[in-house]
């Protein structure tokens, strides 16, 4: 184990929060401007990947408190469910509805069901990238399934 770099460690602490906020901004601005779930997810995942580089992967897993596979699962379920949901109302697949209303302080707010779908994409990207980073950076003796992160019973 290589010793920690103080400079990297400190920088990452500041950058991490800013990057996560940026990723959420990108997620919500994506409907009519550059951004969206995919780009937002990439930014958030790189922020978490930076923490992996700065500290050990076990630390990051502890901070997150959630397995990458669970994030992936939540995202895919959310995205697929939003694509199927319009069918229940007799609309075409992936059809989206939006409302516009004005809130005090915030001004006009444009809400679209596409945001829910995009949030699914956001989570998929984070889950997948985290899984890749874990698989590449993990202890090779730690036998886990390459896709799900579960124990790989087949290899014994």
């Amino acid at each position: 184990m290589i010793g920690r770099s103080l400079i990297l460690d400190t920088t990452v602490r500041f950058v991490f929060d800013a990057a996560v906020v940026l990723s959420v901004y990108l997620l919500f601005s994506g409907h009519n401007q550059p951004g969206g779930g995919f780009v937002g997810g990439l930014v958030a995942a790189s922020a978490i990947a930076l923490r992996y580089i700065a500290s050990e992967s076990d630390d990051v897993r502890f901070i997150l408190g959630i397995r990458p596979a669970t994030v992936l699962s939540m995202g895919l379920t959310l995205a697929a469910a939003t694509s199927i949901a319009p069918l229940l109302f007799g609309l075409g697949p992936l059809d989206h509805q939006s409302v516009e209303w004005s809130v005090q302080v915030l001004g006009a707010v444009h809400l679209s069901t596409a945001t829910v779908f995009d949030t699914g994409v956001y989570l998929i990207v984070i889950g997948l990238l985290l899984r890749i980073v874990e698989a590449l950076g993990d202890d090779p003796d730690d036998v886990t399934d390459p896709v799900t992160g579960g124990p790989d019973e087949g290899r014994s």
Partner: protein, 495 residues
């Protein structure tokens, strides 16, 4: 119908999402897979009946009007492919649950398998060339994982060949898409049908050949088949079976769809297709004869059988295309069941190499029957389904006066019998020799599931032979749709 047409693509994705979260709950995963694939099968059967009655039907994804948005289109051809594919996927997942291999050892099997199902369904249902590319990619991503599941050295080596060849094919596909879009300004299949007709002859032929090369790699046509016989048999058996039955046929579907829908009659490369068809048949069967392992022999037969489907397409007549459609349906069922039987033999006798096993018929008489029916069917012996399929193609060939390809197809049939006979006499007859000493025999419940799934498929192949009349009439209606494309175009673009 709106709902039905999207279900085969979206439901498996939803199932995959839930299944990823249940990595350590194998029972829940199994339940999800079986339930979702059953619903998909049911909905595709309903679609088949509706489409046969009312004609093609299309839905615009996200309510973007065609040709700008993505259309999902179901016509007779797409519906019959979807029905056969979802029945196979369901049968193989039941087999896999009983099989002590990939499924029980990996939490990722079920999610990835469901994504494969979504990709295959999307390839059949899409009415958009770029979306077809996406469907191929979804299918391939899933297949990359499935083919190397287990992580053995030979799996990774052959998986690499498979990945590299498919990446090259995908790149060429993307380049052809760029050419097509540059030339016509659209990627909607129905819209392309209208616009490609205005292009100069040379450009049209160029595009037709480019697409042939791309789909030819996926379908394992003659000069481009070399990756298949090595990469398929190394995967875990249920996966080999589903790849052998379905994946190359997705390529064949794309060839038939693109050649009949996109290009006008005068630029269709009929002669070239017949030549490729003949060479694919002969080379494939010669490869099969030279092998000594059940799974490898069967893999080479996939190549050889693709030739028959291309023969039906190359004739470009209603009889030829009807033969091809019938042949695809018969082939998917028979090929999948043959691979499943090979898996059962491997389980019971410990090996699939012909030199190491014999006397399986005495050991497990039921397995011998389950092998014999699809094997004879594959070779085209009456009264099995393969006979009807080959008869339809030979008659179509004779009426188009393409005698050379007819002779080739008959000779290849004889050689197929020879290589099936080789498996039969080596593995099934003789005194009992096995590699295992009982240790490999799976649990009783698993064995019942596996033989049950295989027997169901064999029963379906017999049903195809029994109801050959109605099915052939349906294939003719399908072929009529493929030749007379105006209803398809009208239903997508509007009158």
């Amino acid at each position: 119908m709106n709902t039905l047409i999207a279900l085969p693509v979206m439901l498996p994705l939803l199932g995959a999402g839930v299944a990823v979260g249940l990595v350590h709950r194998r029972v829940a995963q199994r339940l999800i897979s079986v339930m979702i694939l059953s619903v998909v099968t049911l909905s595709s059967v309903v679609m088949l009946i509706r489409v046969d009655h009312d004609g093609p039907f299309s839905v615009q994804v996200g309510d973007w009007a065609s040709p700008i948005g993505i259309s999902l289109v179901v016509d007779r051809f797409a519906a019959i492919m979807l029905v056969v594919a979802s029945v196979m996927l369901l049968a193989v997942v039941v087999f896999a649950i009983g099989h002590p291999g990939a499924e029980s050892g990996h939490g990722s099997f079920h999610p990835v398998y469901l994504i494969l199902a979504a990709g295959i369904a999307m390839a059949f249902l899409t009415g958009d060339l770029f979306n077809l590319f996406v469907a191929f990619e979804v299918t391939l991503m899933a297949s990359y994982v499935l083919i190397t599941l287990g992580g053995r050295l030979d799996q990774v080596r052959n998986g690499m060949t498979y990945i590299v060849i498919n990446l090259i094919a995908s790149t060429v596909f993307l380049i052809s898409l760029a050419f097509i879009y540059a030339a016509t300004g659209t990627v909607n299949l129905a819209d392309l049908h209208v616009k490609i007709a205005d292009l100069p002859d040379g450009v049209r032929s160029g595009l037709a050949v480019l697409l042939m090369v791309v789909f030819g790699v996926k379908a394992a046509l003659f000069p481009l088949f070399f990756w298949l016989p090595d990469s398929y048999p190394t995967a875990s058996l249920p996966i080999t079976a589903v790849f052998a039955g379905l994946l190359t046929k997705v390529g064949v579907y794309a060839i038939i769809r693109s050649q009949t829908l996109l290009f006008p009659i005068d630029t269709r490369p009929g002669g070239l297709l017949l030549l490729i068809a003949g060479l694919t048949m002969v080379v494939g069967v010669l490869g099969a004869i030279s092998r000594n392992d059940m799974k490898r022999i069967l893999s080479f037969h996939i190549v050889s059988q693709i030739g028959y489907m291309m023969m039906g397409l190359g004739l470009f007549t209603i009889a030829g295309l009807a033969g091809a459609v019938f042949y695809i349906v018969h082939h998917i069922v028979v090929k999948t069941s043959l691979f499943l039987v090979a898996g059962l033999v491997e389980q019971r006798a410990g090996s699939s190499e012909l030199a190491r096993i014999s006397g399986v018929a005495r050991l497990e008489p039921l397995l011998a029957v389950l092998f014999l029916v699809p094997a004879l069917s594959l070779a085209g012996i009456p009264p099995f389904s393969g006979f009807v399929a080959k008869l339809a193609l030979v008659e179509a060939g004779l009426s188009s006066q393409e005698y050379l390809i007819v002779v080739a197809s008959l000779v290849v049939s004889l050689l197929t019998i020879y290589s099936m006979n080789k498996i039969w006499s080596n593995a099934f007859w003789g005194r009992i020799v096995t590699e295992s000493n009982g240790s490999l025999a799976p649990a009783r419940s698993g064995w019942v599931l596996m033989t049950g799934a295989t027997a169901t498929l064999v029963a379906i192949s017999i049903a195809i032979a029994v109801w050959a009349g109605p099915l052939y009439a349906f294939s003719q209606r399908t072929a009529g749709d493929l030749i007379e494309t105006h209803t398809y175009v009208e239903r997508v673009l509007g009158p």
